[in-house]
Structures are given as structure tokens and as C-alpha cells.
Symmetry: C2
């Protein structure tokens, strides 16, 4: 069973008026997208898109789990070096174990270092006991300048804390099998080196070891992440007709709204643990579709926080956006507002209520208010947030992105525009 329900009725004109789609016309268009469904189905059936095989795999998990257990041993901190797709999936899963106040007992704290701010590095490195730390360096190509610089600057600190054998024991590298600088460096140091499937792009790699090794280190169940993904994949690609394929429908809805001038798509989860999921989605969508002047602009908002920041703009600013709220059953959860402190009549609406009751009321109210203000809105509703749910969300949005690219006629899997800047940075560095 898919662990979420989608309500996209408020993307249509009968709910939101002129910014909504005509349901009949959209339905006809969607029904004509059978070829798109066939093409993505073929990517799985013919094995040409290995990420679609990952949800069904179990063979690689025992070794990952064993490595994770080894990496947890006598370890206080794990530094994950990597950026973009090498980091965001792991961060998203890790948020299930650590909500920013530290991991559960017996689990090391994982620090995802995805930037090269020297001030951040100094602040971190001064607090790490490298004798009780592990480093996991992830770069698909093995040539990511930031990740290499991170590793190179941390190695002397690690080398001061432990001997060469200790360095080898404490360093794990994930990179492509092909010869590359990161692989050569890891090999020289005697690190454990794991293969990044060259046919799984970074932003599509969360279901591979790139996302699952950090998850296992954090004590999470990687098999359940994959099982959640599989529930979505099987339903989507098992659909008889395009209308029954939820990610294809989602892609077509996004593109129809973009054609109508609503080319900004706001993803707004109502759970702090989905904050990183929003950033993961934002990379996936932007980098896969932002090509040839096409694509739409993803924005990550957070409920309820951004009700006090962005909602005014969303309700009353330019009508150029659509909204996807991700809500989580919250009623009845959390501490109660005790009657003794809430005797004030002005607090009667909170008295005896739990924090989750308020969150639940607010997420429903925001969805309804967006609709009343004519803003196209769909809702993903989760009954619980766990590994399965996260895996299902990952797969839905990866498929929605792949279908959107297919409908736009662009390659979802490359990112040609960013190469120029990388080259220029090297030139500046050489000249500087």
C-alpha cells in the first residue's frame, strides 16, 4: 500500500476558479500520454534506468548494514563529505533519526558537510575528536572540487589523531568504478571504497548506497525505504492507463499549470523532518528540468513557519505559483496545553488541546485558505512518517520528474549548464 494519499482536486477550475485547469481538457490531454507511460515502463523493463531496479533490490543491503555497524563502533561523529545529490538524500533520511538535537543513544552524530565555508570548517573541526570520528566522502565522478578540498583539508587533522592504519579504518569513499582522483586518493590511504553505480545520477541516488549507508549508520531500516519506493513504483508503472499513473498525472498537472503562467511550484511540508526532503526535491526538479529555457522553479517552504513569512505573498501576490502541501496526521500528538495555565478566556481555544491538534488545524486551514484565494493546491497526506513513507515520497517525486522531462522532451539526467562555471573556477583558482 502506498503510504500517502494525494488530493489534487484543488488544481482545477471548479475549486480555484480561473487559475485552475479545465478538468475535461486536462483529462483528454492526460489520456493521450500513453506513450510517455510506455517509455518509462520500458526504462524499467529493459533495465536501461537502474534506479528503477533499486526498489526491488535486497542483495546489496546486508553488506551495507554490516559496514554501517562497523562505522558506528567507537564512533562519536561521522563526517559525510559531498554536495548536491551526494548529500541531500542522506540528510533527508538522517532527519528521521536526528531532528537537530542529536541522534538517539548509541548512534553517532552525522554531520553532512556540503559546503566549503572555511569558517564552518574551523568551527566544526575544533569540536571533533578525530580519534572517534569517521569520514565518508561521496563523489560520483570522484572529481568534485568541493568534496576533494574538504577531504584534503581534513586528512591532516585525522592523521594527527590516529596512525596510518587508523586513517584507513576511518575513511570510506563512495565513487564510480572508473579511475578518478577520489578513488586514487582513497586507494592510496587504504580506505574502504564502494562503487557508485555510474548509471545512477547523484540526484537520483538516494535509494542506492549513497542515501542508504548514512541511513543504516543512523540505525534506520534501508529495506523499508526501498519497500516504500517499491509500493509507488509498482503502482505507477503497473497502471493500465496514463490517468491511473499518479506521477505521470502529477507531471502533467505541473506542466499544464506552467503553460498557464504558473511556473513556480512550492513544496510545503508540515513536518520538520521533511525540511531536507524539500531541499532534495528542489535539486531533483530544478536540475533535471531546468534546460533549454524550460522547467519550472521549485521553492521549499515549511509549515507552519512560512505562514508567518511567505503566505501573504502566496495568497495575495502574483498568481504565478502552484502549491503542494505535504501534511502529516498530527491531531492528538504532543504535549497538552494545561488548563491551569490556559484559564484566560482568550486562550480557551488552546486549553486542553495538544500541540499536534493546533498543527493539524493549521495545515488544514492553510490548504483551504489557499483554495479560497484561488491558488491551485494539491495535498499529499501521510498518516505516519517513517522509512517507508520517505521511500515512497522519494520514488513518487523521482517519477514525477522523469515523466515531466519526458513530456517536455528533455534529458532528465544531465546538467550541462554548470560545467562552464566549474571550469572558470579552476581558472580563477590557478590565477588567484
Amino acid at each position: 500500500m502506498i503510504p500517502f494519499e494525494i488530493d489534487d482536486s484543488a488544481l482545477f477550475a471548479d475549486r480555484v476558479g480561473k487559475a485552475g485547469l479545465d478538468a475535461a481538457a486536462f483529462g483528454r490531454g492526460l489520456a493521450a500520454h500513453g506513450a510517455s507511460l510506455d517509455r518509462v515502463r520500458a526504462l524499467r523493463d529493459e533495465g536501461t534506468l537502474p534506479l528503477l531496479a533499486l526498489p526491488g533490490r535486497r542483495d546489496d543491503l546486508p553488506a551495507l548494514e554490516a559496514l554501517a555497524a562497523r562505522m558506528r563502533r567507537k564512533t562519536r561523529d561521522v563526517l559525510v563529505l559531498g554536495t548536491g545529490g551526494s548529500s541531500l538524500g542522506g540528510q533527508t533520511l538522517y532527519a528521521l533519526a536526528d531532528q537537530g538535537f542529536g541522534p538517539p543513544k548509541g548512534i553517532p552524530r552525522i554531520h553532512f558537510l556540503d559546503n566549503i565555508d572555511p569558517a564552518t570548517f574551523a568551527a566544526l573541526a575544533d569540536r571533533i575528536d578525530f580519534a572517534k570520528a569517521r569520514i565518508l566522502a561521496i563523489s560520483k565522478s570522484g572529481g568534485t572540487a568541493e568534496t576533494l578540498m574538504q577531504l584534503l583539508t581534513l586528512l591532516p587533522r585525522l592523521g594527527k589523531a590516529v596512525d596510518a592504519m587508523g586513517v584507513a579504518e576511518r575513511l570510506v569513499v563512495i565513487t564510480e568504478p572508473a579511475d578518478n582522483p577520489l578513488r586514487r586518493l582513497g586507494t592510496r590511504l587504504g580506505a574502504t571504497i564502494l562503487d557508485h553505480d555510474p548509471r545512477v545520477g547523484g540526484r537520483f541516488s538516494v535509494l542506492s548506497l549513497v542515501g542508504l549507508l548514512p541511513a543504516f549508520i543512523a540505525g534506520l531500516d534501508g529495506a523499508r525505504v526501498r519497500a516504500g519506493a517499491r509500493s509507488v513504483l509498482d503502482a505507477a508503472l503497473g497502471a493500465e492507463r496514463p490517468e491511473d499513473c499518479a506521477p505521470l498525472r502529477g507531471a502533467a498537472l505541473n506542466l499544464a499549470h506552467a503553460e498557464g503562467g504558473r511556473g513556480t511550484t512550492v513544496l510545503m511540508p508540515y513536518a520538520d523532518r521533511l525540511a531536507h526532503f524539500g531541499l532534495w526535491f528542489r535539486q531533483l526538479w530544478a536540475e533535471s528540468l531546468g534546460k533549454d529555457g524550460k522547467g519550472t522553479t521549485p521553492i521549499r517552504a515549511m509549515g507552519t513557519v512560512d505562514q508567518h513569512s511567505q503566505l501573504q505573498l502566496y495568497l495575495a501576490g502574483p498568481a504565478d505559483k502552484i502549491f503542494t502541501l505535504v501534511t502529516l496526521a498530527a491531531a492528538g500528538k504532543g504535549d497538552r496545553a494545561p488548563a491551569t495555565f490556559a484559564r484566560d478566556p482568550a486562550l480557551a481555544y488552546l486549553k486542553g488541546r495538544r500541540m499536534g491538534d493546533l498543527l493539524d488545524a493549521e495545515q488544514r486551514a492553510t490548504g483551504e485558505t489557499l483554495v479560497r484565494n484561488g491558488r491551485p493546491t494539491r495535498i499529499f497526506h501521510l498518516e505516519r512518517l517513517d522509512e517507508r513513507a520517505m521511500g515512497a515520497l522519494f520514488m513518487h517525486f523521482m517519477l514525477e520528474t522523469i515523466f515531466a522531462a519526458d513530456l517536455l522532451g528533455i534529458d532528465a539526467f544531465d546538467q550541462p549548464a554548470v560545467e562552464e562555471g566549474k571550469k572558470l573556477a579552476r581558472t580563477y583558482l590557478a590565477d588567484g
Copy 2:
């Protein structure tokens, strides 16, 4: 002296081609905005906009500093309850003291709780020793449901750790002088209650005690924040002509690009400590201008992280955005990539270089690449990032927002659209 330099030359056609503005036409338009400059100047001179008096004030600082010292005593954690404008300014300043790995010695860790996720609250509350904690509850109106719920659910935990006198000693409230639920609750509990100036809106309150009390608790110098703000304010409102008023020029540039179809404005700092500044700006801009179908959509990106996430879209997606990079002098900073580990010829470009050298090369390269791809880009460059710089950035962007509202003919200081959702949430809570 203003602690940053602005280069907006790449917002014009001679640098970025057809997405750029015609310099002569823009100059004529800007020169005609004298009335706008006069109106904002009058807001300060006549005292009708008290936030413009804050940069020059010192009289309120000694009491704040003394309270902060008291709140630091025997304190391990400070929980700041508040959302939107009651939180983002303090978070931005606190980032100068704590980059996410904990505060300096002798400084308590400040947790800014701006959401009502019961899972987050449980994770936090289980880790806090309330006998060594302080609570600072901030709500201008005193009626913010989230903040009240946060406080109500924490009070029993605090009450278990200390007696009634201890509760009184550990609770500080910032709210308007007018009678309101938060003020009444704080009074009943014997809390220290500080007045929020009712004429300073939440998102414009960072230079008041709302931003500065957390800053003082963190050991920062609030006077220097104000001094930085003053440097910008004096230069802007002391300008003889609109052309010489940097925030007015910035506002006009934003609006001219929005008229040209570039209604998304990306703020992309290249310093982790400015991550919260980006969120602060995002509220300021969105909530002040998003009215009557007007306004532009702010996006917070982070360098270099988002080069691996959003840059592909920025360079090759729809040409509907302008970019403001905030760069910080980084060359020569941070650890060096040691020659011994970087012997590989493929790593020659990093050998002996410092992490800051790479950051510096990348921020320059990204700016240049945006321009080469015809994307309008301006750069704020800082030589150092400290309280003065932060104060200056705050004031520049508050003024730019106020001028933009003036040019659009809208009220920068209200947020009428969000009231409907607040009422609906209360109805749902009552019915639920």
C-alpha cells in the same frame, strides 16, 4: 563607512544582453523618484517610522546587556519561542556566534523554536535540563497561537524542574504594552516582561530588543549591529539625489526587472553564517510586497551548495529571475590542501590552496557564469562578516523593501491576507 560594496552593473543590457535593463532609460526613471526619497526621509525626520530611529539609539542597550548577562548565568540552553519576525532576526545574529556546532565557551546554546511540530518538541524537551534553561517568548501581538502553544506546553516541564520563583526567574517575555494573552500569562507567572514597540512590525524588528536580546545573550555586540545599520541609513537618506541612494536604486532595479518579466529574485550568499539572513530577507520582501497581485518572489539559495542543485535551472531554465550574490572575502582563509595528499596531477589545481581560495574562485566564477549566460546579477561584497556588516545588510534590505513598496504604492507594514487562515485554524481547532 558602509561595510559592503555593491556592483549592479550586470543588471544592465550592456553586460547581460536582452534580459538587462537599458541604462539610460533606467537612469531617467530613477532620477524621477525624488518624491520617494523625500517620503522615506520624512518618515525618519518626523519620527513616524520608529525603526529608522533605532540605528541611532544607545539608551536601551545597557539594560538589555545586563538582562542578557543575567540570562546567561547558570544557563545551558535558552529556548526562544516565536515565529516569523519574532525569530528570524535573532537567528540571523546568533549564527555569528554558533555555526551549528554549538556556541563558544560560557555562552548558552540558543534554540529558536519557530514551529509547532510535536515530534521536534519531544526530541528537544527530552534533552533539555529545564533547571538550567531559560525561556524567551516573543510575540508582538501577544496572541500568536504557535508561540502561546509552545509556551503552554513547556511550562509544565519547567514547573517540574524548578519552583514558582524559579519559573519567574527563567521566563522572559517580549510583547506589546497593550493588554494581551501572552502579557497576562507572563504577568501571572512573575516573568520579566519587556515592551515590543507596537509601531515596529515583527519583520522590521531585528534592530530592536527582538533581535538584540538574543544577540547579547550570545555575547555579540548589539551596538555594533546598530552602528552598521546607521552607516547605511545615513548614507541612503543623506543622498542628494535618488541616483545616490543605494536602497532606492536597488528597489527600482528590482521593479524594473519585474516589469520585464523577471519577477523572481534570488538571494545567494556565499557564507554559511548568512543562511538565516537569506530567510530573514525572504520574509521581509515577501510579506511586505506580496499584496494586490504585486510583489516579486524571493528565493534563498546558498553558495556553493546550490551550484550543485539550482544553478542548472538558473543558467538554462526560464529567464524569469534576477540574482543577488552576497560574497565574502575568502581567499587565504581556512586549512590548506597539503601537498603530500595532493600529489596526484589531477589535484594540482588544489595543491597548497586553502579552502577559502576555492570558495573565492567559485563565487567569482558563478557570478561571471550567470552574466555570460545573460542572467541579470548584482553582487554585494563584504570584506568581513561581523555585527557591523550584519547591521548594514539588515538596514539596506529593509530600506530597499520600503522603497519598493513606496514605488509600488502599497503598504509595506501590514499582512492582511494571512488573517483568514488564522481564523479558520481556530475554527478547525474548536471543531476538531
